[in-house]
Amino acid sequence: MLEFLQQLINGLSLGAIYALIALGYTMVYGIIMLINFAHGDIMMVGAYVGFFSIAVLGSNIFAALIFAMLSCAALGVLIEKIAYKPLRNSSRIAALITAIGVSLFLEYFTLFLLTPQQRVFPEAAFPLHKYQIGGLLVSNKDIFIFVLAVILMIALQYIIKRTRTGKAMRAVSLDREAAILMGISVDRTISITFAIGSSLAAAAGVMIGIYYNTINPLMGIIPGLKAFVAAVLGGIGIIPGAMVGGFLMGILETMVSGYGSTLYRDAVAFGVLILILLVKPTGLFGKDTGEKV
């Protein structure tokens, strides 16, 4: 039982990270029906911005987080304007292929710029402490990641449910033409969606830096794919679904590593994807309405 609880705690921080990334996938899909495969790489850029602001500028972890989130918000908006906007009226497969192109561009441009060398997240920015609580081992990293992720998710829910901008985002995702008739600018709404989604990914990138200690230009691929699975698991386009899906994926992964073997954890993640697509393609929170006409 203790062992199980320990794995659960380990899984929560990883799950929080997946949930933050999954939110970006699901928000972008909700509004322009695109799986933004570059999303994991935006997370990687966020990790690097966080790394450099700590290692070079000497900023503390919070300043690094904010800096990473702002930079990636701008990056996300830029990517949408340059790569996706011109394809808005093309077929969805064209945009999807472009997203893969953007993903490769970000990966290999970073490799070119910064070399493939791993970089170690400066320990000084976040000194590790471990606490024994009733036989359970909890680190300050786990707590920091979990609490911060939950705060960000609450902030996101507030924006989407309560603010004028958030309501406009929901309106555009429900019925673009009707939203235009209300006077809502679709371009602006899409930009805001990319900005928010990308900044959440950036926060996740900095968290991964803290969590795994090392970062590299290809670090966005696997967590990006797992977060995508998490978004599909919860029901793509559904925001609470992405949160729950992210936590489930994180917990599942640590359970598999803990009780089975680390070797299987990635296989299990993608096994989950296959299983959902077979059993309930709309995801846990999805309604089986099919595409609306």
Binding site: R164, K167, A168, R170, A171, L174, D175, E177, A178, A179, I180, L181, M182, G183, I184, S185, V186
Partner: protein, 234 residues
């Protein structure tokens, strides 16, 4: 107030509106009747900017609005009740109404318009927290009308407000349209239900395959043999 001057609208290669012209005088109810696919919705979508005419002009209060961005049109004083209601299904009734006032900044004015909508449609007030998708067809139509009213429009474009509603509700909706007009909003009404539309309109146009084929006062059209035969089941 509104003058559509010889617009040509295309869907790809299909010539949907062929030099269509019509005029809506301030304070009036004008109806555009015609069969399915004649170009009624296309006409409204052109006015609200969702479709771009290739030629011609759309004058609203003296300015050509045919090149204005669609999301700017509502700010000029034209709001639309779209075909099939198009309410935001997973948003609450109240949120739908708030979206209608999206561009407005006058908090007090919005509050009082919201009260007016709730007075006009008490059922919407009862269900203000409910999501729009759970409302009945008639209630959704009322919500779509209320949402359009929240923009405080000078001109309201209504696309088939009677579609899919029971006869009693249709009557109610038309009473509401008359009342909205009596309080100063000009209305351009698109309908397949020619009988009802002509009964409340001042002027009417008949559209066939993208062209106006008949126009006149409602009395003239009600008594016209062609209209009787083709649209009034007589």
């Amino acid at each position: 107030m509104l003058e559509v001057k010889g617009i040509d609208v295309y869907y790809g290669a299909i010539h949907a509106l062929k030099g269509l012209s019509l005029e809506v005088e301030e304070g009036s109810i004008v109806t555009l009747i015609g069969a399915n696919g004649a170009g009624k919705t296309t006409t409204l979508k052109s006015i609200s900017g969702l479709l771009r005419p290739k030629n011609g002009a759309i004058m609203f209060k003296g300015n050509d609005i045919s090149k204005v961005a669609p999301e700017k049109i509502v700010g000029l004083g034209i709001s639309q009740v779209p075909e099939g209601r198009r309410v935001f299904s997973t948003m609450s009734v109240l949120e739908n109404l708030e979206m209608g006032a999206y561009l407005r900044k006058d908090k007090k004015g919005i509050e009082s318009d919201l009260e007016n909508v709730f007075t006009r449609f008490p059922r919407l007030k009862e269900r203000r927290k409910q999501t729009a998708g759970t409302l009945s067809g008639g209630e959704q139509q009322m919500l779509a009308i209320g949402r359009a009213l929240m923009a405080r429009p000078e001109l309201m474009l209504m696309d088939e407000p009677s579609m899919g509603l029971a006869p009693l509700l249709v009557k109610e909706i038309f009473e509401i349209i008359k009342d909205i007009n009596a309080r100063g909003t000009t209305i351009l009404l698109v309908e397949q239900n020619a009988n009802m539309a002509l009964s409340i309109a001042n002027r009417a146009y008949v559209i066939e395959t993208g062209e106006i084929v008949l126009e006149g006062t409602s009395e003239q059209l009600i008594n016209s043999e062609e209209v009787k035969k083709a649209y009034l089941g007589g």
